[in-house]
Amino acid sequence: METDRPDGRTPNQLRPLACSCSILHRAHGSASWAQGETKVLAAVYGPKAGTKKNENPEKASIEVIWKPKTGQIGKLEKEYEMILKRTLESICIRTIYPNTTTSVIVQVVHDDGALLPCAINAACTALVDAGIPLKHLAVAICCSVTDSGCIILDPTKEEEEKMKAYINLVFPNTIVSVLPERSSQVGSEPMAHGIMTSVTQGAMSVDDYLHCLDRGRAASARLSEFVRKNIGPKSTWLGRMGFLCR
């Protein structure tokens, strides 16, 4: 039975994606990521000298600061900061700049559901823009389960409030490789099928969880292509000339 979504999307359809890099002048790397109405702006500063207390002096530290749209930082924002920090630590090569700290500031511009995956995508894109050495990229996606057992991708806030459960998943991006296909796999699966982060809300059965994984992997392949296209250098000649001729 098909679920009727308020914005007319099919269950497997993502909202329109938009991504811009190098938009902040003072930050060493910056990116804005929008999925539908949800929009997050991420800035990266560093690596800078010095570490915080109790940090490892043999590795680079990553500090994540979450800025909500309104109000003060609460427990939910602290949890988001911790999840983001762990995810970014797992993709960065931290031994290259020992005894330094890299700050990632995440500013929520608008929240219309699937906020944490949007923030993770923005932060990863900002790290690439800043030139931080990375093992691979990460792509994040949100799947949700309705009361009737249907699985839909990328829910809006309105849909999130009606869902029985939803799950935020982070996968490595798909890579281009000159190795034979079998060599770049871990066991019998490609590396892009590994799970880096999984955060669930609500209760769901094991079968629903596995179905969410399958949908998430399929969506992460599309997200990987989108990220790869946007990371490359782009020309804004027309915009520049418009500015000059004003």
Binding site: G29, P98, N99, L134, V176
Partner: protein, 240 residues
């Protein structure tokens, strides 16, 4: 084997790559020595990418990823523009936009002795050479070239310094001459110093010329060669 190796070489060279991409397979390269530049790392028999950019190759067997970023990674023998932030008894502390401050020994000048230590106020802009850049240590700078002569190094007085990305500074320093500098040089007289850390210093007889040159360079980052010449011509028409 030969054909497969050839196809491997030409597969990803001069293409955009992302972190995680595997660009070389060492198990297929028998009795070959390759040199890895910035942006690449070795993971067992695979060479993978650490930074997004364009994969480059130069004979024989040098690979690197050409990327553009605001933060500078110090390498030995780079020429950079630094700002003096402090002076100690043995060293000047210089900001070169790297992860840590760099040391400029007080004796690292042409004819430098204990009796004639140069005086640099905090905030002085100097053109220096990186002589040591080891991980985990502060970089060490020098104001002389390898033979001990001052050459083009030293303090830069007056003028205007602005910042760009490391990719743009490499473009400005490339040979043949960058199109924007070539077009500007035909019409205007100015002096310029480009550091590989993304700092550019411009000086001219009048502030008007300095501002025109600085604006032209700042606007040329995302333009191709022909577009740069067109932009400079339009800019010069407006000011005449």
């Amino acid at each position: 084997m030969e054909t497969k190796s050839t196809s491997s070489f030409t597969n990803l060279v001069d293409q955009s790559v992302c972190p995680g991409d595997v660009v070389l397979d060492l198990s297929k390269m028998i009795n070959q020595t390759i040199k890895l530049g910035g942006g690449l790392r070795q993971d067992c028999d695979a060479i993978s990418v650490m930074k997004a950019g364009r994969l480059r190759f130069s004979k024989p067997h040098k690979y690197w990823v050409e990327n553009s970023q605001k933060r500078y990674v110090p390498y030995a023998e780079d020429s950079v523009l630094g700002i003096v932030v402090d002076s100690r008894s043995d060293n000047f502390l210089v900001d070169i936009k790297g992860p840590t401050l760099a040391f400029l020994p007080v004796l690292a000048f042409e004819g430098g002795t204990r009796r004639n230590i140069p005086r640099f106020e905090i905030g002085t802009l100097i053109y220096v050479r990186v002589i040591k850049a080891n991980p985990g240590m502060n970089p060490e700078l020098s104001c002389t070239d390898a033979s001990g002569k001052a050459a083009e190094f030293g303090a830069l007085k007056d003028g205007y310094m602005f910042e760009c990305t490391t990719g743009q500074s490499r473009m400005l320093l490339s040979s043949p001459t960058c199109p924007v500098l070539d077009a500007l040089g035909k019409k205007l007289s100015f002096e310029i110093a480009v550091g590989l850390n993304g700092r550019v210093w411009v000086d001219a007889a009048s502030p008007h010329t300095t501002i025109v040159v600085a604006n032209a360079i700042m606007n040329s980052e995302t333009l191709s060669g022909a577009q740069q010449r067109i932009m400079v011509e339009k800019l010069l028409q407006r000011i005449q």
